[in-house]
Each structure stands twice: as C-alpha cells, then as structure tokens.
Amino acid sequence: MGILEDKGRARLFYKYLSKVYDQVNPFIWNEEMRAEALALLDIEQGDRVLDVGCGTGFGTEGLLQHTDNVHGIDQSIHQMQKAFQKFGKRDKVRFYRGDAERLPFKDDSFDVIWSSGSIEYWPNPVDALEEFRRVVKPGNEVLVVGPNYPKTTVMQKVADSIMLFYDEEEADRMFEEAGFEDIEHVMMGPSYDPDIAITTVARAPEK
C-alpha cells in the first residue's frame, strides 16, 4: 500500500498540498487535457453531474462549461476552500464532504459522474467505482482520470511507494470488476509527456 492510501495521511498531505496544488497541478493535468476529457462525454445543459474528489475545483470548472447542475464531493475541506473561493460556497456548485468509496447519494441520482486526479488516493478503487455505478443512472457514463503507470523502473518504484498508478489492463480489470461496460481509455498529457494520464470512460449497464 502506498503511503497516501492511508486516508488519514492523505488528508494531512492534502492540507498542505492545497496551498500550492493549482500551481503544481498543470504539469500533469492542464486545461487542454481537461477539454479533451470533457469532449469524450456527452453532457447536456441541465444534466446533474457529480465531481468526485473535486478538490480545488479544476475539473468542476470544466464541467460548469457544459451544465449548471454540478455537485462536488471531497473528503478534504482544505482542498475545497479553494473551490469555494472560485465558485462560492452555495452559489454555482453543490458541495459535500464525503468518501468516494461510500457515497451519500441514492441509486441512479446522476446523469454523469466525473473524477479527475482522485483515484490514485482511494485505498479500494473498485469499491469507489462500484459506488459510481450505483449512483449514475443506468446506461449512463462515468469518466475517471488517473496517473498512467510509468514506464521506467525508477519511476515505477517511486509510483508504487507513493500512490496508485495503473495501466489500461489494470483499468479494464477495475472497471469490469465494478460492473461497467463499454470501457474505453485515452492517454493524455502535455507534448513532453503525452501519456502521463489515463482517462477512462465507461458505461453503467441498463437495468
């Protein structure tokens, strides 16, 4: 288990990371990548969309370009303070504190579920993905962006000790185990590192 997969440590880490996160973040996940990921989904105005692990609100900001019914959930209030500054606390976005693996939403509550830069901190990613499948409407899509597994041995060692990284094969396994269908992956990244992120779109089965 990576050191950040312990949720207490993840919270402490994020308390400090939140101070610099949006400055650091564009190196691995920028506006171009976000737009590319959003284009994979079919979000219509008025769709109710959930951003899991919304953090400082970078993904949330992109989702708001497509619908005005965006809900953000995160375990860390420190991360969300940044999002509150951007969108207001009770204005454009509905915010909740909660756990990705135990979502506080009823079955079939959302038209789309989005999660960018959060899966690497979930101790049990399949549990969270099962929750996504439960909470998204049957036949609808979820999108998850996470770090692609590095190709060099040194970076793999770093990756394994810090957090979850995964490749297409592992993503297939996780999404299949969670009960998804039509699982597709797109590698994304800036020109100097074009496959640093793995974006997965998958569909919940019709009931």
């Binding site: 606390k89 509905r94 504190r97 909660g98 135990r102 506080p104 509550s109």
Partner: protein, 61 residues
C-alpha cells in the same frame, strides 16, 4: 445545502434515508443543522451550508 437535495442524499453507511433537522436556514438553503440516518442513527452535521457526510471513521478535523 438546498433542501431539495434531500431527494438524492442518503446515509453513506447503509444508503438508508436521512432525516433533516434545521437550526438555521435562508429560504430553501439550509445553513446549520444535521442529517440523521434513519436506520443507523448516525449524525452528519451541516456546517455553514456544507453537509459533512464523511463516515464517522473518517472525521477528524
């Protein structure tokens, strides 16, 4: 949180219904209060309009 969100919220532990108790509201916006699991009895506070639906084992600050 908006009161209408009660339509989609549930207890994160067992997905049962929640009961809303309001201490302070501004129209349909609940500012202070709590959500209580109808089966678990777990209390989830609403603080400055943000419902804290973290399971009890994850709350520490």
């Amino acid at each position: 949180m908006k009161e209408s969100l009660m339509d989609i919220l549930c207890d994160p532990l067992d997905k049962s219904d929640l009961e809303l108790e309001v201490d302070e509201r501004d129209d349909d916006e609940i500012l202070e209060g709590r959500l209580i699991g109808t089966e678990t009895g777990e209390v989830y506070p609403i603080e400055d309009g943000i419902p804290n639906l973290l399971p009890p084992d994850m709350r520490d600050d």
